[in-house]
Symmetry: C2
Amino acid sequence: MAKNEQFVKAIADIEADFPQWYTDVVVKTKLVDYGPVKGTMVIRPYGYAIWEIIQRELNARFMQMGVENAYFPMLIPMSFLTKEAEHVEGFAPEVAVVTHAGGAKLEEPLVVRPTSETIIGHMYGKWVESWRDLPLRLNQWCNVMRWEKTTRPFLRTSEFLWQEGHSVHETAEAAEEETLKMLFCYAEFCKTVLCMPVLTGRKTEKEKFAGAVATYGMEAMMHDGKSLQAGTTHYMGQNFAKAFNIQFTGKDGALEYGYTMSYGVSTRLIGALIMTHGDARGLILPPPAAPVQVVIVPIAAKKEGVLAACSALADRLKGAGVRVKLDDSDNSPGWKFNEWEMKGVPLRIELGPRDIENGNLTLFRRDTLEKAEAPLEGAEETIKNLLKEIGDTLYARAERRMHERIVPAGTLEELLAGVEGGNFVRAGWCGARSCEDKVKEFAQATARVLDEKNDMPVCVCCGKKANHTVFFARAY
Amino acid sequence: MAKNEQFVKAIADIEADFPQWYTDVVVKTKLVDYGPVKGTMVIRPYGYAIWEIIQRELNARFMQMGVENAYFPMLIPMSFLTKEAEHVEGFAPEVAVVTHAGGAKLEEPLVVRPTSETIIGHMYGKWVESWRDLPLRLNQWCNVMRWEKTTRPFLRTSEFLWQEGHSVHETAEAAEEETLKMLFCYAEFCKTVLCMPVLTGRKTEKEKFAGAVATYGMEAMMHDGKSLQAGTTHYMGQNFAKAFNIQFTGKDGALEYGYTMSYGVSTRLIGALIMTHGDARGLILPPPAAPVQVVIVPIAAKKEGVLAACSALADRLKGAGVRVKLDDSDNSPGWKFNEWEMKGVPLRIELGPRDIENGNLTLFRRDTLEKAEAPLEGAEETIKNLLKEIGDTLYARAERRMHERIVPAGTLEELLAGVEGGNFVRAGWCGARSCEDKVKEFAQATARVLDEKNDMPVCVCCGKKANHTVFFARAY
């Protein structure tokens, strides 16, 4: 058990130093490594496999909604950015700029896309002619770049991977409806695949996307009670349609500007699921998002028949659609237990000579740390049900935490105490930017989303009548 | 039939002006469009769907070979490039350079990856410690950038999508073996998925990858008899291991440099399949790579029962794993025939009241332009067999063309006549760079690959003893 101790000590205490725990876990489980340029990350196979599952799951949902994948160029003429006034103000300070190429200085500097509204708007302006072309719904999976001062793997890096969807609709209503539909699609995905509950709602003017009419976000509560923005959808009105001349001939023959919307989630989601589910031993991956759902550890592997039985079981589970790994390496079972626990594999099977003799296997649940026996016969069903139960348990646990840690506040002092205690704070707000700024200054907390229900009577800051009820929190 | 005429005229004559035919076809079938920055392309949904099929098929093969996917940063410190002398010489002239980011000038300029040997080499140097870490086989799907003067969609664009695999092995033999294994994997993929025959072989020193010990390529013959390099694999020896300090402790306890290799194919493959199979009417997509394998066109769609029968058939085919589209738009059948023929859908089903009454369907093969009837009952099997047959026919046709158009040459004049006639020319070569240069100057042809068989007696250029037999061709 000495090695066990060593393993646990390799990760900082999750309660005492959560940021260090996070850094230790993501690097030591080989999800990610630091790239040579400051603020960049290398996504290693274990982390990239999670991203591929996220891609597959979202692609399936997007296709259902009539979205098609495409690919737009990464380099955007600087002049495009300036066509939408708010957009350039928001993004210009953090772009990376290509000034030289092919051995010569470029006539116009090119921006590495921080997001693609402008270049996609330009192409849509070329493609859209008639109402028959609408709705036009495209998505791309790509890298984007935003030069950030403080970075952390997955959560905030200068380059990251994401998907960005962009649609054009005939009417404001249709574009607004799509914006909400996609928000709910994201939230359902977070629940089903990441086993992660989210709060959804509209963002304040201060927090909205540069160039949008309205931004909607989903916020997840991390282990330390801080909030993480897990995805956003934006209704643009005609802002980008006017900037890029996206016009169509309507059913009535008149030329009109389209209404656009966009939406995106990124490799940040990997950070979100780590900080939602992890514990003192390391990662806990929700089964639907786990590259390895079940690890089989042979006990007394050199005894005759053990490896063969493990291998046969692995094949049966594979056949049943379970992502399974047989760890037949030379390491000791204890070493393997620790390694796969740290790597967050949801379910471990131990199989040794005695189990085989009794027709049993031993199961270890990563979420509850409970061991149990089950018959080898019919193991496929047992294990699939158990994986489902582990996912449900992880979701329920995260949901309970979030609900227990939403507290109301009537004053700035209460709000400060709330966020310092690791809570989301529900409070009234008059709607003035000055009050929102004051909250940030006083409590280092920001308005995450507006609640649909507006039942707080007065503004937590100025005490005047509240026009909104807001979830405030400290955020990643 | 007026519209039919119009359609055909929309594409340049494939025999008279093949380059224009290509441009017409890729743009008009909405595979691709031009981006706003010179030399860039937008991959539209129909083109991107082909790329997704290529990705899926290659991923499956890579996984079988023990390769895992990962993601490395796009921006590479300029100093990395210079660590391998040949590499920087080859790539420095065509890189795009980020000099400013986050509103400030960077201390060191960053290069947008033209390929990732250097940054991956840097990480491998960090990760590899022992022979137990080897072989290390990673692949990434990403965008890369090479600033090119003359560009054409898919074939040569400043930004393109590709996969690049990079492995480290313990011995030279293992790395060389992997280099050939991957070449054969590519060739099998081209045959099976793109129905495209390729010539494989080693490249000359002049044509090899900058920094490699040996480059192997696969070359496909296009409709006009020119060659297209469809993919390459590179054996690096210890060149990059020494440049990036990829060292491991061997089984004998001694510290050694690893042996590396890399391999890549790109969105160029889409251009290759277009120019291999297309005809006067437009695209012909090989069934394994076609986003739509079967289009169903209802005849007299407004007659009762027709659309329902088409829809039921579409569901049956989907259930059988066929990628099928029911075109229930308002356009006339003739218009639809032309559109889907131009878009290269391998098989068309026509279904009207008479067919339904007779329990039949009408089939139109895009490859042979033949129509036939078949019973509605058991249509799934008929159609799957037919798709297989179409693929086989396309492959056989392309293979026959390639074999018919490989001609021998004993002199420069014969070589010139050969390539001018749209052939690959098989000729002896002494091995001198000066002779290779002379061939290019005289015939605008390059050494595509060396033949395994060396049976040509004298060098086509200098007349001295031939040390190699080379396939020369004009190339894209």
